[in-house]
Amino acid sequence: MASAQDGRQAEYARLLREIVPMIRAVAAHHHRTPDRVDDVVQDVLLTLHRVRHTYDPARPFIPWLVAVARRRSIDALRRRIRMDAMEIRDDTSYETFADPLANREREGREAADALAVALAALPRGQREALELVKVKEMSLVEASAVSGQSVGGLKVNVHRAIKALRAKLKGG
């Protein structure tokens, strides 16, 4: 760091690269996700650059570095806690547009998700009948051969499955 203070840029770059793992370890102590740890590492590097004139070469470098890293990491944690306490996050809210057609893609995805959940909740016989007859578009005879259900049983199960899905999706 003393060389960096004297303006030797190559040594400064090498020092910054060498201390990244140590800064990362300090940040990982306070932050869990890699994204946040990366943010803190970047902020600590910028802060070190800003306060590098405060380092006294007569004193050990590591305590100075760790003090700066810990301070900025704790500040980031406080900022995060403050934001989480005061803000409500709704990732989809800003994806809704005034024009209903513009929302079709997202709403289509949501409808498909809801249908998959409702299908999974059906009894096995009804789900199988619906998948073979309506999704795979088999004839009743083919579906009967595959599933082992009688043709009459398949008709009843398809009817009941559609009724159950309609009730479920309408009820939200």
């Binding site: 004297d6 840029q9 910054l16 990244v20 970047q42 590097l45 802060t47 900022r79």
Partner: protein, 221 residues
């Protein structure tokens, strides 16, 4: 290492010209205190009633009180310069507490003795408005000068730094007041002094928010 981090390091290294190292905090504190002492001495010699002050100095309790105020001012300024650096212990903030206890204790004893001696008059309001103006008035330029000196270290947690520094300048203001304060303080006066010192410390702490390091520009969720 990730690409943005590599780019950032290259950018910082490219900007990493020669910097002027800060002098040790004790040296910086002493220089600041010497400059303030020189300016204050000029004001005292020009405007204070020194013979009256010297006659009051015969009183041992006043000597004790002055020692408490003087040491509080020096200790708080020295502590603030140390606290402004990232790798110095936060225990430096405790340094002014013993002389502050001496200041409060000796002033309180003076008031109590004054009250015993003069009865209800010991609770009266003396020249408190002038004292208040003197402490706050002296602290504003001193505080601005100290804030400027402390901000050179770009403290990472500036509020405690400026709060302790505020105690230092308020004590120096109270010390100067003694040269223009030819009477014993009453409990009411002491209360006004305490409010003035508290106000200076609070104002200094708030001023610390203006030298806070910048927050990161963007933060990912």
């Amino acid at each position: 290492m990730s690409e943005p981090l590599d780019d950032l390091i290259d950018k910082l290294a490219a900007e990493g010209g020669r910097v002027r190292r800060l002098a040790p905090p004790m040296t910086r504190a002493l220089i600041w205190l010497l400059v303030v002492a020189a300016v204050s001495a000029l004001a005292v010699f020009a405007f204070a009633d020194l013979p009256l002050f010297m006659s009051r100095m015969g009183d041992a309790k006043l000597k004790l009180e002055l020692a408490g105020i003087f040491l509080t001012g020096i200790a708080a300024v020295v502590a603030a310069f140390h606290l402004s650096l990232p790798d110095r212990s936060s225990s430096w903030a405790l340094l002014p507490l013993p002389p502050l206890a001496l200041w409060i204790g000796s002033s309180g004893y003076s008031c109590w003795r004054h009250w015993i001696e003069y009865g209800p008059e010991g609770w009266s309001l003396g020249e408190s408005a002038d004292c208040f103006r003197m402490i706050v008035g002296a602290s504003v330029p001193l505080g601005a000068a100290l804030l400027l000196a402390l901000s050179r270290a770009r403290p990472l947690n500036p509020v405690p730094v400026t709060a302790v520094g505020g105690l230092g300048v308020a004590a120096i203001g109270a010390l100067l007041l003694q040269f223009f304060h030819p009477f014993d303080v009453t409990f009411m006066d002491l209360g006004v002094h305490a409010v003035a010192v508290g106000l200076v410390v609070a104002g200094s702490a708030i001023s610390g928010r203006f030298i806070r390091p910048p927050e990161p520009q963007a933060s990912r969720g």
